[in-house]
């Protein structure tokens, strides 16, 4: 939710927040001010939807908050830690441990099975041994309804199934924050509803914060908070149907 709307929320319930984020893209004459002083707090157990016209800075905000891109100004706080001074390797480590991404396209690796795809973030974290990773990946795939397709090559899954594997992969290291960039944008209505339902259930049950970029009004309406963006600024924050 926007900063002014969440002054009373305790920091323990805010796994990720940004303050006064500035971001420019391009060089010289083609330089564009894509984020103009954006501030946002993500609350645990809540689904935050960002809506707005194409090019308004939704995805840019998502990438900056997901530590994939560095802002030109402002501050990002992960839990209680400011990330400005961290090195690229340290930022990668935080991303691996605390943030899960779901993209419009599943981006699964076709050389791996569904289970192996889910294990890839776990291998980087290195906390579990191979057997524990396999068990956790199987459990996550079971949770997204793919328990019977654990060993299936990711190429041989349907679009909806692949996106559910991507969701399981985003949960691999039990992150506090999920960032989803139009996760239902490439799915038919039935799969779209199923994936969104899955995400909201996870947020509720596991007290995760979900930031969702969407063009789909039904998806936005079904969120806890709807943040409307225009020209690189958050111009409105309203409660959704879930709230």
């Amino acid at each position: 939710m926007s900063m002014n709307a969440t002054a009373s929320v305790s920091s323990a319930d805010v796994p990720l927040q940004c303050n006064d984020i500035q971001r420019y893209l391009g060089e010289a004459e083609s330089r564009v001010h894509v984020l103009r002083g954006v501030s946002l707090q993500l609350q645990s157990g809540c689904v935050h939807a960002i809506v707005g016209p194409s090019g308004c800075g939704k995805s840019s905000l998502l990438y900056v908050m997901g530590l994939l891109d560095r802002p030109d100004g402002g501050r990002i706080t992960l839990g209680s830690e400011a990330v400005e001074g961290l090195t690229d390797d340290q930022v990668s480590r935080r991303r691996n441990e605390h943030i899960g991404f779901v993209f419009q396209f599943h981006f699964l690796m076709h050389e791996f099975t569904a289970q192996e795809n889910v294990m890839i973030p776990m291998r980087r974290l290195g906390r579990l041994n191979t057997r524990e990773m396999q068990e956790r990946a199987a459990m996550l795939l079971e949770m997204v309804g793919l328990g019977d397709k654990v060993r299936r090559n990711s190429q041989h899954l349907s679009g909806g199934e692949q996106q559910r594997v991507a969701i399981a992969r985003s949960l691999a290291n039990d992150p506090r924050v999920l960032l989803a960039d139009e996760p239902t944008g490439n799915l038919d209505t039935a799969n779209s509803e199923r994936v969104f339902h899955l995400l909201t259930e996870l947020v509720r049950r596991q007290r995760k914060a979900l930031l969702l970029v969407t063009h789909n009004p039904q998806v936005a309406e079904a969120s806890d908070w709807i943040h409307e963006m225009k020209d690189g600024q958050l111009i409105a924050c309203t409660a959704g149907r879930l709230r």
């Binding site: 981006f107 050389e111 980087r124 960039d181």
Partner: protein
């Protein structure tokens, strides 16, 4: 297993045909390198062994006297020259070989040394008469300093040992003179006197010049034949480490005031030819490995271009730039490892196969089969070349992959 290696092992199957082609290039390059080096070194070692076995690591010969001008030498009026060394004055042979041998044997690197009196004599058989080089030897010392025993192809050393007028002839010389072991032949020395010698053995060094021109008699017999009752022509010195011969030869020359030549100096021309052939073969064959490396470079560069989404997603999952780079470096490493291992096995098989090829070479070297030298260094060098070439081939694509900005890729993915 490191996560980048795990991913690399799966990615390597991408573009299977191209990677197999490059892998084949590495295997063949490594194998050909090993086989080519084994051949050139085989002939070189054979030549060196012959040189060491026939004349020793160092030959100490003529005594010399260094002449100096006065420190200050007045020439024309008003001219003053500073003293300097003039050309040496040489005296043929060694007059006191016992004393020189005692000094030489004091050096720790010297295994043994043997006196040789060498000169020309005429060899007369029923068939013909021909001038040859006769070497008078102290058999006991000569057997220790040379490989004469191994060179005997007919007759026996023991027979020669007990016959004061025994003769050992080179294989080609005996053949040319139509004589063989057990025959009596005549040797005519400087005094023109005809002396009868019994052919006790025939030797073959593999060097046609020696086998066609040389023969051995006992030292005493040679002294009589060549009219030199005292002294010898030279001493042949066997070293424990022949590679250190040049330094010791220089030292001995200064110490003893006798000409001392190492085998590297004596055979410099031939060794340079061998060296050039070896380098030429190495460069030619390494080209195959470099071409294979270029193939790997192309494959990995294409892979980086095709896998940009996967790279972006891996970065979003927390993989560091170094991890992304390592995925591509590991692929290069795996190709180099498999290529080198299989290349070494194929190289050994090829070397063995080549060593079994019958040939009939006579001249500079004489051999009836292809000569090869089994050297672990060649295997290590071939492997090192493969690893360096493939590391360079993988380094640039890997660096490019690591530098990719995930956000730019994700933005360009139609989102």
């Amino acid at each position: 297993m490191p996560p980048p290696l795990y991913i690399a092992m799966r990615f390597i199957g991408y573009r299977k045909k191209a990677i197999l082609l490059s892998l084949t290039g590495v295997i063949l390059g490594v194998a050909f390198y090993i086989c080519a080096q084994a051949q050139t070194q085989g002939f070189e070692r054979f030549f060196i062994k012959g040189a060491l076995g026939t004349s020793g690591a160092i030959v100490i010969g003529n005594r010399f006297q260094t002449l100096h001008t006065d420190i200050l030498d007045r020439g024309a009026p008003g001219m003053l020259s500073i003293g300097h060394e003039k050309p040496r004055k040489f005296y043929e042979g060694i007059n006191d070989p016992e004393r020189i041998m005692r000094v030489v044997n004091e050096f720790s690197n010297v295994a043994t040394c043997a006196p040789v009196l060498e000169g020309s004599a005429a060899l007369a058989t029923d068939f013909r008469q021909e001038v040859f080089r006769v070497q008078g030897i102290d058999l006991t010392l000569h057997l220790k300093a040379s490989t004469l025993r191994e060179q005997i192809v007919n007759g026996s050393i023991e027979d020669f040992q007990v016959k004061p007028f025994g003769l050992i002839l080179g294989y080609e010389l005996a053949d040319k003179m139509r004589t063989r072991v057990g025959h009596d032949v005549g040797l005519i020395g400087l005094d023109g006197e005809h002396r009868t010698f019994r052919v006790c053995a025939v030797f073959q060094t593999g060097n046609l010049f020696i086998d066609e021109k040389y023969g051995y008699v006992h030292l005493k017999a040679a002294q009589s034949l060549l009219q030199r009752p005292y002294g010898v022509s030279h001493l042949m010195v066997k070293l424990r480490d022949p590679s250190r011969a040049p330094a010791l030869a220089t030292h001995l020359e200064q110490l003893l005031q006798h000409r001392a030549r190492s085998w590297q100096d004596r055979e410099r021309g031939s060794l340079q030819i061998f060296n050039l052939i070896r380098i030429s073969a190495a460069i030619t064959v390494s080209t195959i490995i470099l071409l294979a490396g270029f193939g790997i470079f192309n494959i990995l560069t294409l892979m980086v271009m095709d896998k940009v989404r996967e790279i972006a997603v891996l970065r979003s999952m927390g993989y560091r730039r170094a991890d992304i780079s390592a995925i591509f470096l590991w692929q290069g490493f795996l190709v180099a490892l498999i290529g080198s291992l299989l290349g070494c096995v194929l190289g050994a098989a090829l070397t063995y196969g080549v060593s079994q090829i019958p040939v009939d070479i006579k001249g500079f070297l004489s051999t009836k089969r292809f000569l090869v030298h089994w050297s672990g260094t060649d295997y290590l060098t071939a492997t090192a070349i493969a690893f360096v070439a493939i590391f360079l081939a993988s380094y640039f694509p890997s660096r490019r992959a690591a530098r990719l900005a995930p956000v730019d890729i994700l933005r360009g993915s139609g989102q």
